[in-house]
Amino acid sequence: MDFLKSMDISSTGMSAQRSRLNVVSMNLANANTTRTEDGTAYRRKAVIFETTPVDDSFEAQLQDSLDNKIYGVKVTDVVPVSGELKKTYDPTHPDADKEGYVSYPNVNLVEEMVSMLNANRSYEANASAIKASKEMALKALDIGR
């Protein structure tokens, strides 16, 4: 196995966490948005992580090497989360519906903050993995020095 492959894997992890953080920021910024392009209130979004083979060159597939079993991560989709939107009675609001209720996004600030911290810690963990891999390689170069 290529000893530098670990860096590619960790870098996919870091990119994925970065995308996750983008979505969290979007949720936080739109926590009170009552009007979107399609007229309804903003609905909280979540990222879908999916494993992706790191080495998808034709040669690796052909040889069915150990590299074939190594997966990184990729953000494949950003999906709205289903569930009830929060309704508040306010007939004076411009976005109130026929009964006078205004729908607010189903964004829970505490949950989003926790998600943000998780993304942060995962990003750091992946960066540490790259650093560890680099140190191992440098130690290997020290053999016989």
Binding site: L4, S15, I130
Partner: protein, 133 residues
């Protein structure tokens, strides 16, 4: 004449020219990667990669080998004629900073490894000349 040839073959043999090419490739790659990272926000900038021409040669079946191989999957060495790498401009607008950093780390490690190999080679020559290590 013969003495000169064999001397220059021992001093500047295939190992050194292969290492030289590898070091050239890695310094060029460092510049390409830094260019990608610096232009991450530049509108219209497309990501660039550095490619060994040797890969294309191997795919086409042209052999530029300088080293003997017992298996076709072994590293065949680099031909020492002309420049071996081409800059390939991809279609990606969005530069992924994390993967550029990982590429840069790998590149630095390979540069370090190659330069130490070169040092060892020169030390061996020095030992041969001095008669002691």
């Amino acid at each position: 004449m013969e003495i000169n040839n064999s001397l220059s073959n021992k001093l500047m043999d295939r190992t050194m020219s292969v290492l030289k090419k590898a070091l050239d490739y890695e310094s060029a790659n460092q510049q390409i990667i830094s260019g990608n990272m610096a232009n991450a926000d530049t509108p219209g900038y497309k990501q660039m990669n550095l490619r060994f021409e040797e890969e294309l040669q191997r795919a086409e079946g042209v052999s530029g080998t300088a080293l003997n191989r017992t298996d076709s999957r072994h590293y065949s060495g680099l031909s020492t004629s002309g420049s071996n790498f081409t800059i390939e401009t991809t279609d990606t607008d969005e530069i992924d900073l994390d993967s550029e950093m990982a590429k840069m780390t790998k590149n630095n490690l390979l540069y370090e490894a190659n330069s130490r190999l070169l040092t060892k080679k020169l030390l061996a020559l020095k030992a041969a000349i001095k008669g002691s290590y």
